[in-house]
Each structure stands twice: as C-alpha cells, then as structure tokens.
C-alpha cells in the first residue's frame, strides 16, 4: 500500500528532519520510499514541508496532492494542508503552537502538545521528535526501534544529541 505523509512547519522547527528520519527508518524496513522537500524561492521566510511516501512497490510520484497523513507544526501549515488531506486521513497537530481545530469532519485529528512536552524534556527543539514519536505510534508505519536507530545514522554517532532526540521520540510515542 502506498502511504504519503506531509510534514510541515516553520523552517526552524525541524520538519525536514522528521520526514528524513521517518524515511530512513522506512528504508531499513525494506520499504520503497521517497522523500521530497519543498524547495526554492517560495520557501523564503515561509513554511517548509516535505512529503514522504512509503510503499511495498515502486513509487510513481513522490508528490502528494492529497496525503494520507499530515503533520502540522504551526498554523500556516494547518491552513495549507487541512483541506488537502485525504478523506479518512489523520491530521497530527502540534497543539502547543496551534489553538485551532480543522473544520473538516471527515478526518481524524490527533493533538500532540509536542512543544510543551519538548520543553519539559529540556529542549524546545526536540518538539519535532516528540511529534514523530506520536506519529509512529498512531500510524504504525514503522517500528519505534528502527526510528531510534535511524537517529544514529542521521546524527552520525553524536551520542548526546542522539540520546536527547531518542528520548523525545519515546516520550512522544508513549503519550499516545
């Protein structure tokens, strides 16, 4: 089955990292995977996003006009993607930054207070990993273990950073 997920937020919120970690872990589970960041001039000062597609067979298009899942870390992202989500899709909302609810009723909404939890864990910047943990728990697309392992590759063995992010991942995983 082909599953497409969009991760979206401000440039500094680490949304590309979320998608990347997810994609690497999926690759290790021998899934077909594509990762496509938004790029170029239009990004400037605005939101960043990326699309990760995973599937059991060749992926035609890495682009998603109607993703199965959307992870929105800030309000503009909510606005941008709430209407694109597939009917029946799941919307993950960073409740710390977003005090609105989507208008659509045909989708599932998961609110995660990712920013706050990250703050409690000691580093605001790991909000993305908290969110990703929750995302993986809910979607069951990959295992948490592989996701944690992917951090090792991503952060190239930098122990402290890995631990911090892994902690955030687990925390996010556990709260759902």
């Amino acid at each position: 089955m082909l599953i497409k997920t969009v991760f979206s937020g401000f440039g500094g919120q680490g949304v590309l990292m979320m998608g990347y970690a997810f994609a690497v872990a999926a690759m290790w589970e021998d899934r077909e995977v594509t990762y496509l960041p938004s790029y170029g001039a239009e990004v400037r000062g605005g939101t960043a996003n990326c699309t990760v597609a995973i599937s059991d067979e060749e992926i035609a298009s890495p682009i998603s006009s109607s993703p199965d899942f959307a992870v929105v870390m800030n309000k503009p992202s909510l606005y941008a993607f709430q209407n694109k989500l597939q009917s029946g899709g799941v919307l993950f909302i960073n409740a710390t930054m977003i005090d609105e609810a989507p208008v659509r009723k045909d989708i599932q909404v998961v609110n995660v207070d990712a920013g706050k939890i990250a703050e409690q864990l000691g580093d605001m910047r790991t909000a993305n990993m908290v969110m990703l943990g929750a995302f993986v728990r809910k979607t069951k697309l990959i295992t948490l273990d592989n996701l944690v392992l992917s951090l090792e590759e991503i952060f190239d063995g930098k122990k402290k950073i890995i631990e911090m992010n892994a902690g955030a991942l687990r925390n996010g995983y556990d709260i759902l």
């Binding site: 995977v33 496509l36 298009s61």
Partner: protein
C-alpha cells in the same frame, strides 16, 4: 531490522555527486542555480576530501570551459546546471563535441522559457537532443527516472563519454534532483576505456599534441563532420537504452521519460488494474532515441500515448520513429506541473475507450 548497509537515502543531486566520485570523477566546475545546488555543494566538500578539484566558477560559461580544460588534461570531469545555465553552456558543449572531448554535463531542468520557475519540467528536450549549440554534433542524453538510476547512469555516463570521446548529458529535473530515495552504487560495472592518447600533459617523450575544432579547409572539415556522423551512428547502434513495462499484449503504449515516466508507470499499473491492455515504453537514452522498438511495437499497438512535462518535444521523435505507422496522442504538462498518476490514467482510459480498444 533488515538494514541494507549498501543502501543510503540520498538526495538526487547528491547522488549524482557521489556517483561521479565513485566513477573516478576528480574535477567539478559549476555555478549555483536552483534546483541543482546540492550537487556543487556536495562536490565542494567531497572533492576536497578525495583530493580532487572543485571550483565554483564565475559563471556557467567559465564552468564548461574549465571542464573542457580538465578534460584536455585527461581528468574525468563534470559540470552541472539547470535550464538557463545550460543554455549558456551551449557554445562550450559544441566545442567539447568538436574537440571530441569527454565531459559529463548535468541538467536538472526547470520550467522555461526565460527565468521561468524552479519546478520540474521537461522542456529542454530539444536543446539536449538536437544540440542547442551550433554545428552538426550530438550529445548522448540519459534520462534517469529515479535516484537509483541517477546513480547508475551517472557512473555509466563517465565511461561512455570516455569510450566515445563525446559530451554526455544527464537530463533530469528539479524533482529528481531534490527528492531522496534509497541508493546503492554497487550496480556499476566499469567499461574498458581506450587509452587517452590524445590528452595534453606536456610533450614528454612524445611529439607535441594539438586539440582543436578549427578546421579551416572545408573539405577537411566535411571529412571531420562525416567522421563525427559515423561515430554517432555507432553510438545509436550500441548505446540506445529503454525500458519496456507490460508491453507484451499492450494496445496502448505510453511513452514517457524521466519523472513523467514514473507518473506514467503508476498510471499504467492503475489502468492494468482496470483491465486495460496498456504498457509503457520508457526511453532511457533520449539521444540516441529508441526509435526501433517504438516502430516495431506499431505492429501491435493501436495508440501511442506520449506524455511529457512540456508542450511537446519528444513527441517529434516518436513521430519520426513511427513514420506515420500509428496514431499518436500527446499529453503535455509544461511549466513545472507534475500531474498525478490518476490524472494520466484518466486520459489513458479515455483514449483507450475512444479508440475502441475494449
């Protein structure tokens, strides 16, 4: 976990860089332009690591001419850009072809004409395959459709450039350059390369050499042009590449390359699921173009459905290949639009029924 140690999730632009390094490329010259910037960026780090040469040149023109110089000196060399920058390299490419120098040129194409935009597009097909530069020459053009193929074809491109002493272009687009997919470099089977007995490295223990394209005498120039033409015939014979997908019993053949071919393959699969006899012919080399297989398929195929992310360029090669033997339907999406497989499938379906292929 079944972590495949040899697979890495890499961005297309970086894949080209790593593939080049793996194929023995020691020199890169280029100038920034979106959407290919990660390639020079990757090279600026990697080539210093491996002791190679990286220069961010003052312009695309300088880049292609520095590349020509490195090729003159016998190095494996690459340059890259995107559409407007590739236009600027046309004189240089013509010189490479005229001097019979190998060089790998990457075009991560974007929407045009003019400044256009930075979205993926396939509107540089004519330029790539017909020689946007002056004179009777051709560049080999590879059109990868995935990051893995980007790796494989980049490595092959260096060999092919050396074997034929000819510029080779990788024509992809912003989407392939920007996306990440798992990639391995294990598929590379280096070819045997003839000794580079033409390069300049100082006339030590041998007569001095000349590299040039200037041939003032028209008769000699004509001779040289026919020599090139003969080389191009050999390339056509040996290097044409394509993929056929579900073509065995196909009544409709979709023809698409690169990004469009990915989408098209998705559309073909969907159409098959709906019971339609649809297949895909994917040119992997755009020049030489796989005309023969297309012509051969005309016997059994009722409609050739050409899909390009342009206003219609490759479709001319399909027409040339078919020599009027079959009907062609063209679906073009220029300007940076990447349609979904569903959209393409819908059009295929309509054509399928309209042609009475039920």
């Amino acid at each position: 976990m079944t972590k495949n140690k040899n697979k890495k999730l890499m961005r297309g632009n970086a894949v080209v860089g790593e593939a080049a390094i793996k194929a023995g490329c020691t020199c890169y010259f280029g100038y920034p332009i979106t959407p290919q910037n990660q390639l020079p960026e990757y090279m600026s780090r990697r080539l210093v690591e491996v002791g190679g040469v990286f220069i961010q040149s003052e312009s695309e023109i300088s880049a292609i001419n520095m590349a020509l110089g490195a090729s003159v000196a016998g190095a494996r060399v690459m340059t890259s850009s995107s559409s407007p920058g590739i236009s600027l390299k046309q004189e240089g490419i013509s010189f490479l072809a005229g001097c019979e120098l190998p060089c790998v040129i990457v075009n991560m194409a974007r929407g045009g004409p003019g400044l256009g935009n930075i979205s993926p597009a396939q509107s540089d097909y004519f330029q790539a395959t017909r020689g946007g530069g002056h004179g009777d020459y051709r560049s080999l053009v590879y059109a990868p459709a995935s990051c893995q193929e980007l790796a494989d074809l980049t490595m092959e491109a260096f060999d092919v450039a050396d074997v034929y002493r000819n510029p080779v272009m990788i024509l992809a687009d912003g989407m392939i350059g920007q996306m990440m997919e798992p990639v391995t470099y294990d598929n590379y089977k280096p070819r045997e390369i003839p000794p580079k007995d033409y390069i300049l490295d100082g006339a030590k223990d041998r007569p001095s050499r000349i590299i040039k394209s200037l041939i003032l005498n028209p008769h000699e120039m004509e001779e040289f042009n026919w020599k090139l033409a003969r080389k191009y015939r050999i390339i056509e014979k040996n290097e044409t590449k394509y993929e056929e997908f579900m073509m065995d019993d196909a009544k409709v053949a979709v023809i698409a390359y690169g990004t469009a071919a990915r989408i098209a393959k998705g559309a073909v699969k969907r159409a098959r699921n709906d019971g339609m006899r649809v297949g895909l012919i994917r040119p992997i080399t755009l020049w030489p173009f796989p005309s023969e297989i297309i012509y051969r398929r005309a016997a059994s195929v009722g409609l050739f459905f050409v899909f390009e992310m342009s206003a219609g360029q490759m479709v001319e090669d399909v027409r040339l290949a078919l020599k009027g033997e079959s009907e062609i339907y063209f679906y073009g999406r220029p300007g940076g639009i990447v349609p979904t497989p569903v959209e393409v499938q819908r059009l295929i379906t309509r054509q399928y029924y309209q042609k009475g292929l039920i």
